[in-house]
């Protein structure tokens, strides 16, 4: 068995092990969190436990856009304030948070829950592409915005979706790929600079 854990009690070991399973948390961090909670007021521990449970119990995926939600359909899909003729396609729910933070986009979303990655064995059937196509067929949507990540997997996914959506006659756009704000030109790579020059705009 694990020798490092031997001298402490069962309950502590169990919590350390559970923390250890979380992404980015190693054995030492798990120990630190456990002993912190041990000293913290009971109230705080209970709030944490309840928060964890309620996330698992209350949160489901929206049946329309597959975002995480407490109520189905989700707030965005139900809202009258939003432009129902646009769908923005993202890889993961966190991407919606980032886009919503800008307050500049008022359309709907679709979460793919992944990106096509041939070498990892993630194909078109492993992410929510079928659901997207079903949603687009016979709908009043007139613009699809591809907001997958500007890396190889995201690009591959975008190119694949392009093939599928083009025949439907819906306007298809891709988020601009160029220089991020607050950086320096000399460190930019060829791909980014090429795209930035190609996509330059009237000032």
């Amino acid at each position: 068995m694990n020798e490092g854990l031997a001298p402490t009690t069962e309950a502590i070991n169990k919590l350390i092990q559970e923390f250890n399973r979380l992404p980015g948390i190693g054995p030492k961090s798990a120990q630190r969190l456990t002993y912190y909670l041990l000293r913290a007021p009971e109230e705080q521990a209970r709030l944490l436990a309840e928060a964890i449970l309620s996330v698992k119990q209350k949160i489901t995926l929206c049946s329309i856009c597959f975002n995480v939600t407490e109520s189905d359909p989700c707030l965005i899909c139900r809202s009258n304030q939003r432009d129902w003729s646009k769908i923005c396609i993202v890889e993961q729910p966190q991407d919606i948070l980032a886009l919503e933070h800008t307050r500049i986009y008022d359309g709907l979303y679709h979460v793919l829950h992944g990106a096509i990655s041939p070498t990892e064995g993630v194909g078109a059937d492993d992410i929510r592409i079928k659901e997207l196509l079903k949603r687009l067929q016979g709908s009043s949507i007139d613009e699809v915005i591809l907001a997958t990540n500007p890396n190889l997997e995201g690009e591959a996914t975008a190119m694949y979706l392009n093939k599928l959506i083009l025949p439907l006659g819906i306007r298809l756009t891709r988020l601009a790929r160029g220089l991020p704000f607050g950086t320096e030109l000399e460190y930019a790579d060829d791909v980014t600079l090429t795209r930035a020059i190609e996509g330059r705009q009237e000032f």
Partner: protein, 265 residues
Amino acid sequence: MSKPRNHQTEAIVIKKTKLGEADRILTLYTPHLGKIQAVAKGIRRPRSKLAGHLELLTHSQVSLARGRNLDTIIGSQTINSFLPLKSDLQLTSYALYTTELINQFNADHIENYPLFQLLLDTMHRLCQAGDNELVLRYFEIQLLNQVGYRPQLHHCVSCRSTLEPIINSFCPSAGGMLCPSCCQSLASGGQSQPLTYSLSVNGLKVLRLLQNSAYNTVSRLRLTSELSRELEGVTRHYIRYLLEREVKSAAWLNTLNRFAPNPNI
């Protein structure tokens, strides 16, 4: 004498996995260090100076700082970003297939300069218009040469006789061709007979050419789609046998080909 703290190498990025908040572990294929893994710190942040130079399928000059376990990438400069590979789904998929094979067939830290050069040349060839299936077949056969699984294509692996220009069979577990009579006796041998795949006369000729010639000789070949598929089948079976697993990106190539029979899309 201890090794210097920092070192530099050329590298092609062949795999990436996420690490922690914003880091990645990259698998690099290098000319003189073989396959290595290195940590790229903060590469998933939008303002990362490294990110664009260390995307998959990029040929870069990389500076590394030695770490206890893994080296850390401290700088990188693109040599060739292979933009055409990244702007076309089919080409992206082909190129990812080659890097997956490189990753699967190589253990860490084994220098194989000819193989590095083969990968680099193959990526260049995919960028140029041509028969990409042929580029892949040449890559596969040459890769097998380099990693020590060169298939025997001139003699029967069982009876050692020179192969006649008739339909012979390829046997992955024997690592080469079987003449019809050996294939027959194996098949009638009863228990645990090895899988064999029949190979046409033209198919065998092309495989030999791929195995023994420089690419500029090979590139003059014009394969019918039938012959191309036959060769693809044989090499895939052999590679799957050697790796004892499916090549994931090959499955994706299949879906892609099924989806778009028209190559112009």
